[in-house]
Amino acid sequence: MTDKTILIVEDQDDLRLLIRLSLKSLGRIVLASSAAQGLEMVRAEKPDLVVLDVWLGDGGSGLDVCRAIRADAAASGTRVLLLSACGQQSDVEAGLDAGADRYMIKPFSPQSLVETAGTLLGNA
């Protein structure tokens, strides 16, 4: 177990569990299921990595969360990995424009999620 903190922001229970199980060897996992809760946790936990869904229910957007993280000087060390079922080129570009470090498309392989997250944490 390392000293890294990973925040997972995902509104689907099953997928939150899947991501948690996939990444638990990389660090301490904290969970949020909405955009508002995600932002709260970013401030409270100062995570090294945020794995962030894009469509967060009730109109909440992971892109807004990502932009808020980038605008927050206190979170300058936080890496953001967007993980979304929106997989068009324009979606990916919008994600990177919002300041995400990486964009992965659902469905995803847990193995490659671990590798990508590991790379981002290694650079943190």
């Binding site: 509104d11 689907q12 229970d13 099953d14 997928l15 569990l17 899947l18 199980l21 996939s22 469509w55 229910g57 009730d58 109109g59 979304s84 079922a85 929106c86 997989g87 068009q88 498309i105 659902k106 469905p107 995803f108 392989s109 847990p110 193995q111």
Partner: protein, 518 residues
């Protein structure tokens, strides 16, 4: 210098004189010529491409000859009166059948006959069977008489032209009265002078109300630039915003063409109301946007359960879990696979209903009580039927509907009521015959006392894949209400939803009652 033969022939043709009946105004002149010159033959000869044809003839029994046999074809190639005193002595005519044959022509004198534009279209000529000469005075006389023939031809051409103009005017009148495009005539300053009926209708005023107004008042300010002197209005129609006399506006296309009338510069503005095209374009853009959004959402909705199926199965294959956890993960995979299948079925169903349209419906008379009963028995599996209270009006008319599709529509709303209201909370299903917009309708109402919807949720309820509360854990594809609405609308019905957050939801379906049979 004579103009080209092709032009000369066209001028002759345009006079519309060839092969017409004899006319006294020409015969009078040939008669006079025969008498004055004491010649047995006098002709008004017109030189066509391959023949000479006589508009008027004295002393010959035929109305045309080969052009090659003609003296006159030579006359029109030279200036002034041509005289052949003795054809047997002239190498051009010695072997001519008119000379060697029974006509026995010896003497010829002809003068070129000119159309109004100067083209030499034929001659006035005289012939005799004995050699003769023509003195200067006689040549002068023949020339004058030829001018008389030319005068008759010119006045005939003018009569013909004015007749043509009358026909053109009649044609133009019919055209302006009946074309769907508005046509305005403008003076050089852009003031309206006249308007056709389509323009009157388009701008909501008769000619009297339009004339004298600046065209810019009706056609938009850009028209001012188009009627400016020396401005090429271009070939393309311009888009603009039209203003009716009552102040309302509409999209139009206008083309302004310059012209001259009575020496004055004028403009014709041809105006087309393009409201319908613009509306259609907007509708098709909206449809396209909706389709694109639907595609994006559908893709997202399909990938989400696939993410669970693929992800958990990979974890199960690559890692070791205790038996209880393994079972939990397989249950998730099973649940998400079930959801995926449901989603695909619903998407295909919606696509089929949309593609099939009204033709895809199997319409027949449907008794509302049977419809409700069959819908509820289909929902038996949910074990919730005890909650449903049915209250149908007596003597309801039948509806014209596809029974299975209508059952599907009702199933979707009743199962929503079950899903979104507390266990055991009653659901009321009622039906009544009512008039709506003057038509007999049947209103079927499903009312629950469940969680209800906020205004925002209510406004989005028919959006594809929208799930109230967007709670990811609520089962359902989010297509149920979309399918419901599509089915109702295909039946010519309407759906209304009243809902209060925390109080409950009432869905009313209006369907046209079947016309009563005698």
């Amino acid at each position: 210098m004579p103009q080209s033969e092709a032009h000369r022939l066209q001028v002759l043709l345009d006079l519309n004189i060839l092969d017409t009946a004899p006319e006294e105004r020409y015969d009078r002149i040939t008669r006079m010529a025969a008498r004055l010159f004491q010649a047995p033959v006098a002709l008004v000869s017109l030189i066509d491409a391959e023949r000479q044809w006589f508009k008027s003839r004295i002393g010959v029994p035929f109305s045309q000859t080969e052009r090659s046999d003609s003296f006159c074809t030579h006359t029109i190639m030279q200036d002034g009166v041509m005289v052949v005193e003795d054809a047997t002595q002239d190498p051009r005519f010695a072997a001519n059948p008119l000379v060697t044959g029974p006509a026995q022509a010896r003497f010829y004198a002809g003068c070129p006959l000119e159309a109004p534009d100067g083209s030499r279209i034929g001659t006035l000529c005289i012939l005799d069977r004995v050699p003769r000469a023509l003195d200067d005075e006689q040549r002068e006389l023949l020339r004058d008489m030829t001018h008389m023939v030319a005068g008759e031809i010119a006045s005939g051409a003018m009569r013909h032209a004015s007749e043509r103009r009358r026909e053109d005017d009649a044609w133009l009148g019919v055209l302006l009265a009946h074309i769907p495009d508005g046509v305005l005539m403008l003076d050089r300053s852009g003031t309206i002078l006249s308007a056709n009926p389509a323009a009157e209708q388009m701008f909501g005023s008769d000619v009297a109300g339009l004339a004298g107004r600046p065209a810019t008042a009706l056609l938009g300010d850009d028209i001012g630039a188009w009627v400016a002197p020396r401005r090429d209005p271009g070939a393309a129609a311009q888009e603009s915003v039209g203003r009716r006399i009552d102040g309302s506006s509409f999209p139009l296309e206008v083309k302004v063409a310059p012209m001259r009338m009575g020496g004055q510069r004028r403009f014709a503005a041809i105006v087309r109301d393009v409201t319908r095209q613009r509306d259609a374009e907007q509708r098709s853009r909206a449809t396209e946007d909706r389709r694109r959004k639907h595609f994006t959402t559908a893709t997202h909705e399909l990938r989400t359960p696939m993410a669970s199926i693929l992800g958990f199965s990979e974890l199960l294959l690559k890692r070791d879990f205790d038996a209880a956890t393994s079972r939990e993960l397989v249950e998730i995979i099973h649940r998400q696979a079930t959801r995926l299948v449901e989603l695909i079925n619903q998407m295909l169903d919606l696509a089929r209903i949309e593609a099939g349209g009204v033709q895809g419906l199997n319409i027949g008379p449907v008794v509302v009580a049977d419809l409700v009963e069959q819908t509820l028995s289909g929902l038996n599996g949910l074990g919730q039927n005890g909650r449903v209270r049915v209250d149908l009006e007596e003597g309801l008319p039948t509806i014209a509907a596809d029974a299975l599709k209508m059952q599907q529509a009702l199933t979707n709303i009743i199962s929503n009521s079950i899903k979104y209201s507390g266990e055991g909370s009653p659901i009321d299903v009622g039906a009544a015959a009512l008039q709506r917009d003057g038509r007999p309708m049947v209103a079927i109402r499903v009312a629950d006392h469940g969680i209800g919807m906020t205004d925002d949720q209510r406004n989005r309820i028919f959006d594809a894949f929208y799930r109230a509360g967007e709670s990811p854990n609520v089962q359902g594809s989010g297509l149920g209400m979309t399918i419901f609405k599509e089915i109702i609308e295909l039946h010519g019905g309407q759906a209304e939803i009243e809902s209060r957050h925390g109080v409950g939801t009432t869905v009313t379906v209006w369907l046209p009652a079947e016309a009563e049979h005698d």
